[in-house]
Amino acid sequence: MNYLHLVVTSLTGLLLFLGSVDMPNTGDPKSAPAVHVSPRYIEDSLEETAVPNMVTAVLADYRGFDTLGEAAVVFTGAMAVLLILRTRREEQ
């Protein structure tokens, strides 16, 4: 139980909590995320993309490039594991 890490961790936690004091209350319909960008996703996604599931509409269409990056991350993970584990260089 080394105390240095404990002190660092609790300081970080305190800093994080102080930061979250100014945040809107959970579930507040007037909070910035609920008012600024997402209303367009909710109101227009059905007529623009004819897809009832708004999350899929945002995931694949509005922010489709994120999901391409995500699929690339999965692909990189598979290639990385292949690279790490299948190197047949005999260890000394």
Partner: protein, 138 residues
């Protein structure tokens, strides 16, 4: 892990369960449009069905059915499908990944369906490939 499960209960239950898991996985991939789900969730369920099969039948029999080369091809074609749709939109004169130019009544819905299928294939291939490598590393 690689030797076949000893108790018959595991073997019987796993072998009966796998088809239903796979059907549900495909359902989740295809119904990302109108119900919670999509490429990633469905792909993971599909990959878990192969892990279940390895539990019951051992690695060799499963690798005969879903071979390592096939897994690599699956991992690559899924993402290629995704990026390919983007390039197709480019060729049809719109921005990258802009499905409105795709040839269909509801182009964006079609584009998203192809995306979900591509991601589902990639996630299945990638997770099964990681599972095979972790397993067969001695």
């Amino acid at each position: 892990m690689k030797d076949v499960a000893t108790s018959t209960i595991v073997k019987v239950v796993c072998r009966r369960l796998v088809p239903f898991v796979q059907i549900f996985g495909l359902y989740v991939i295809m119904h990302g449009h109108s119900s919670p789900g999509g490429g990633f969730q469905g792909g993971v369920i599909l990959a878990s069905s192969f892990m279940l099969l390895v539990l019951s039948d051992g690695l060799e029999t499963v690798q005969r059915r879903f071979s390592v080369a096939m897994v690599t091809i699956a991992t690559s074609t899924g993402v290629l499908l995704y990026a390919g749709v983007g390039v197709l939109c480019l060729l049809l004169g719109a921005n990258y990944l802009d499905y409105s130019v795709l040839p269909s009544a509801e182009p964006r819905s079609l584009g998203m369906l192809v995306i979900e299928v591509g991601v589902g294939i990639t996630v299945t291939g990638a997770l099964v490939s990681i599972f095979y490598d972790l397993l067969s590393f001695e």
